[in-house]
Symmetry: C2
Subunit: 637 residues, 2 copies
Amino acid sequence: TFLNKSLSDQDLLCSKSNLLTYQFCPCHFNSLFVHFSSCSDVTISRSCVPIPIECLAEEIGLFSDEVELYGRTKAKVQLKTIDRLQAQPDGKYVVVTGITPTPLGEGKSTTTIGLVQALGAHLKLNAFACVRQPSQGPTFGIKGGAAGGGYSQVIPMEEFNLHLTGDIHAITAANNLVAAAIDARMFHEATQVEFLFRLSKLGIKKTDPSTLTEEEITHFVRLDIDPESITWQRVLDTNDRFLRKITIGQSPTEKGFTRTAQFDITVASEIMAVLALTTSLADMKEKLAKMVVATSRSGQPVTTEDLGVCGALTVLMRDAIKPNLMQTLEGNPVFVHAGPFANIAHGNSSILADKIALKLVGPQGFVVTEAGFGADIGMEKFFNIKCRYSGLKPHVVVLVATVRALKMHGGGPTVTAGTPLPKEYIEENLALLEAGCSNMRKQVENAQLFGVPVVVAVNAFKTDTKAELDLICKLAKAAGAFDAVHCSHWADGGTGAVDLARAVQKAADLPSSFKFLYGIELPIVDKIRIIAQKIYGADDIELLPEAQHKVDLYSKQGFACLPICMAKTHLSLSHDAEKKGVPTGFVLPIRDIRASVGAGFLYPLVGTMPTIPGLPTRPCFYDIDLDTESGEVLGLF
Amino acid sequence: TFLNKSLSDQDLLCSKSNLLTYQFCPCHFNSLFVHFSSCSDVTISRSCVPIPIECLAEEIGLFSDEVELYGRTKAKVQLKTIDRLQAQPDGKYVVVTGITPTPLGEGKSTTTIGLVQALGAHLKLNAFACVRQPSQGPTFGIKGGAAGGGYSQVIPMEEFNLHLTGDIHAITAANNLVAAAIDARMFHEATQVEFLFRLSKLGIKKTDPSTLTEEEITHFVRLDIDPESITWQRVLDTNDRFLRKITIGQSPTEKGFTRTAQFDITVASEIMAVLALTTSLADMKEKLAKMVVATSRSGQPVTTEDLGVCGALTVLMRDAIKPNLMQTLEGNPVFVHAGPFANIAHGNSSILADKIALKLVGPQGFVVTEAGFGADIGMEKFFNIKCRYSGLKPHVVVLVATVRALKMHGGGPTVTAGTPLPKEYIEENLALLEAGCSNMRKQVENAQLFGVPVVVAVNAFKTDTKAELDLICKLAKAAGAFDAVHCSHWADGGTGAVDLARAVQKAADLPSSFKFLYGIELPIVDKIRIIAQKIYGADDIELLPEAQHKVDLYSKQGFACLPICMAKTHLSLSHDAEKKGVPTGFVLPIRDIRASVGAGFLYPLVGTMPTIPGLPTRPCFYDIDLDTESGEVLGLF
C-alpha cells in the first residue's frame, strides 16, 4: 500500500510509516509551468528534482529489503514483494492504446504518464505507470528518447533512455551466448567424434563412447542441427544495418563451416519477449529452456536446454527479471521493465511489473500500462497474449487519438518524420477529420470485441481547434466509447489529464466482461483468420508456401496451441502501410510463420519485417553530448 | 581516510564518524576456516556475509553523496572524490605481476587479494585492492570466474563475474555505435550526393550545397573512408568464434556494399583501453574523440570526432568511468574497474580506481593493483604506459612465482588446462625447479630495470615441499629481489600472506628510483627494439613489410610519439609460446603495427593474436545454473 507523503517534508517522507492511503503533493511540480512552458523535454526533465528513489519506494509501501538501489533515481524491486502482498486485492488495470498512428506517433507514452500524474497527483488516487524500456538503437538513430514528453515524462529521461539498470544488455549477452553455443556445437559435432561432455548431463553413466547404442548417439549425443533451419539470430542494441545479412565462420579456424546469418536488434529477441511474459523466476527458467533455436535433420525441435545453456541464461537474466522503479515528473511511481518489439513480438511491458504494481496500488488504485503501436496490434496482443499468460483482467482501454492522425486517415497528405507537416494538419479541416474518424471507430470496436469499456483520449496539439477536438469526442461516443475527452497533459502535466482520469475512474467501475478473441486450442490457421477478419477487417487470409510449411511443422512439433503474435505494419489496419482509414476488400498474405516457443507464441509474418533498423544520414548521435563540467547529457530530446 | 570499524557492531559501523585510522576486525572471517577448508570458491564466497556496501564505503571515508549504490554489494564511486582529497598524500602503490605463467595461471589475482587481506585485516593498515573486471566470454567458456580463489576472493563472486554494474556492456554499446556509424557513413556517402548534415557541426553556414567549394567538400563533407583501411571492429563480450571473420552488408538494402569484417571480444576494444587509461571525464571525452577508425583515401586519419559520434560515446560511458567498489572475503575494499586485454591492450585495471584508492588509504596505506600476464607484458605496460599516463610512482613490485611454472621452465612436461598435471609437478624435483628459476631471475631483473624493489611471492600449492619453496626464495634473493617469501593465502586467507605483507611494507619504505624504460620521443622502431632486447632478451627485431608500412604511416600521421603496447604471447619471454625458461638468440618478428590513438599507444603484433576466443567442446556454461528457490548461482567456480 502507498504511504502518505508530503514532499515538503523529506524527513517524514523517508520515515518508517505504514499508512494505507496515498496522497501526492504536487507543490514541487506546479511551479515548473510558469517558467518552462516552451522548453525541450530534457530541460523540463532536468528542471525537476527527483524524489530520492529509496524514499519513493518506501512511500509506495515497499520494504527496504525488497528494493535494490541503482544510483539515486533507479531501483530494482524484488519479486518476493508479490508473495508478501498475495492477500492484497489488485488495483484497476488500464491499458493505453491508440488509433492507427502516423509515423510520428500519437502520444501513447505521454498519455500513459499524464494519466498517472492526473490520477495520483490530482485525484489523489494510488496510481502506477508501467512502461517499456526503450532500445538504445533508435535513441541514437532516428527516434530520440522515449520517456514521454513535455510535462508528462519519466525522469531522469537520460537514465530512462540509456543503460537503465542493464536489462537490455543482459538480454544481448544471454542471446548471443545461445548463438555462440549453436555454431560452436555444430562445429564440434562436425569436427569431433565424441560428445561425452553431454552424457553426464543426460544421466548416461557410460564413460566409453564405443558402448553407446546407435539410439543413444542419435538421441542424446548429437543434436544434428540442420543449419538451414536455424531461427536463432545474434542481436545488438544498435541500429547497424550492415548486420542485416552476413556470412559468418570465414576465419580459417572455422575450417570452412561458413553460413549466412543476421543480427536483429536486441528488443526483437525472444529473450526480451520471455522477460516480458514471465511470471516468476522458475517460470522464466522454464521459458528460457523451451526456446527452440533450430530443427534437427530428423525434424525434432532443438532447444536451449538441448544446448545445455538454459541454466547460464537464467543466471544472466536473474537481475533483469526484477522491475525497475523510476518516477514521473510529478513524483508518481513508474515501472520501466522489458521492451519487446511490437511486430515480431507482442510489444508490451512486463507482466511482473504490472502484477507488483497492481498489488502496491491496492483495490482503489490504478495501474496504467501501455501497449505498443495501434489497437489492432499492441492492444490485441495485450489481451490475447499478455493477459492470457498473466491471468489479469483489464478494466479500461484508453484509446489515444489525435487530430493529425485522423486527418491522415481521412485522406490527408503523407506524414513523414523530419519534414514539416502539410497545412491540412495545422489548419482546421472538419471534413477531413470526420472522414478519418472511421479508423477510430474501428479501433473502438476492436477494443469492445474484448468486452472492455473504452475511453477515447484526444491528445490535443497546439494547432488543433476546439471544434476539431469536439468532433472527435462526439464521433467516439457515437462509435460506442464509454467516454471521450480532450487532454493537454503534454503542455500541462497531470492537470491536463484530469478529465481523462475521471472518465477512466468511472469506466473502471463498470462490470467487467473481459474475454479473449479466440481459444488457443483452435488450429493455427483459424486463429490467424479470426484476428485478420475481426480486428483488421480482412476478407480472408492467404498462406504462402513457407507459411503453410510452418503450419504443418509446428502442428507436428506440438506448438499449434500457442497464441498468435501477428507481425504486421502498424501504419495501416491492413498489411499495406499506404492504406489508411479502414481498408476493406483485402486478403491478408501470410508470408511465413515463426515460433517463439519459450516466450509462448507463434508469429506470422505479414510482409517483410525489418528486425534491425539503420542509421539515417543525420543520426541523433550528432547532437548528443556530455558537458564534462556539469556531467549533464545534452541533445537527448 | 578509512574509519575505525568494528564488524561486531553494525550500527556503529554505519554511524557518521570521521576517524583517521582504519582497523579491520577479522572475526567474521576466521570462523570460516574450520568449516569450509576444502570447499569450492563459490561455496567459500557465499559462506561469507558481505558488509553492506554503503557501510564499507563510509568506513573507508567516502561521503554518501560520492557513492552510488548498485544493489547491496556493489557501488560506484564518483570522480569528485579525487578533488575532495586533493591535499591528501597518496598511499604506497604496489603492483602484482608474475613470472612467465603456465596456461593455468599462477595466482596473481589471488595474491593481490590475499596481500590486501593481510595488510588490512592482519597488519591493520589501510589497504585497497584494485583489480580488473573479467570478461563474461571466458566465464561461460573455458576459464570460469576470476575473482581470486580459495580464501582470497572478491565477493560476491557471482556479481564480480557477471554484469557487475554494466561497464563492459556500456563499452559494447559505445564500440558498436562507432562501427554502425562507419558503415552507415560510407553507405550514405556512396549513395547520396549531399552531406549537409555535417555542415552545421563544422561551422559552415552555407545551406545550398552547390555553393560549397571543392576544398570544403573534400575536407569537411566527405570523409571518404578507404574501406580497406578500417581498423575499427565490432565487439561482443561472448566467446563466439564464428564472428572472427565475417562478411557484412549482404542484405539487398545495403545495395551491394559488402565488406569483410570481424568481431573482437569487448575487453579487446580500444574503448576499454581508454576507460583504463583515462584520468578524468574531460580527458575521457578527449580520448574517445581521438580514436582513429580508418584512413581516408587521401591518407588522413579518420576519427570518431570526424564521424560526429564522440559526444554520444561519452554519454554512453559516463557511468562506466566511475570505479566499482566491492570487498574481499575479509571485508577489505576492492575497486573492480576496467579489464583491457593484456595483449593488444595494456592489461591493467583503471588509473582512476588506483588514484581514488591511493587518496583513500592515505600516506601510510597500501593500494595493491594487478598487471595482466607475466612481468614481461603486464608489468612492462604498467610502468611504461599506465604509470606514464597516471603520473603515479610505484613503490613495490610483487612477483608471483609457483613451483609448477618454474618446473615447466626447467624443462617439465607440457601443462595443459583440463588434463591432470604430470607427476613432475606433484612430486619434489629440485633439479627441475632450479633450472626453471632462470625465468624468475630474468623477470626480477626486468622489474629492476624500472628502479622498483621486487618482492617475490611464492604462491604455495598443496603438493609443493618446503625444500622447493625455500629454494625459490633463496634463488630469488640471489637474483636481486628485496625479499622472497612463501604464501598460503589461497588456503589461509590473509593470514597466509602476512609475511608477504611485512616484506612489502618494508620494501615500500626504500627510496624510490622509478624510471621509464624508454622515452616516448624515440622513433617507433627504437622503442620496440628496447622492449624486445631489454625485457624479452631478443637479439634484435625484424619488421615485416606491413609493420614497416605502418611505421611510415603513423610517423607521417603524427602518432610516432605514443608508447608501445606489445601484443605478444604471455606463455614465453619470446614470441614462441613453446620456448620456456629464458629463450636467447632469437629475433622478434613484428608482423604488423596498429594504433590505439585515443587510448594512447601503438601495438605491434608479434605473431597472430586471437581477439575473440571460442567455446570449447564442453563450455563452462554447462555447469552454470540458478536455483530458482534460493536465487543462488550454481557452478560458477
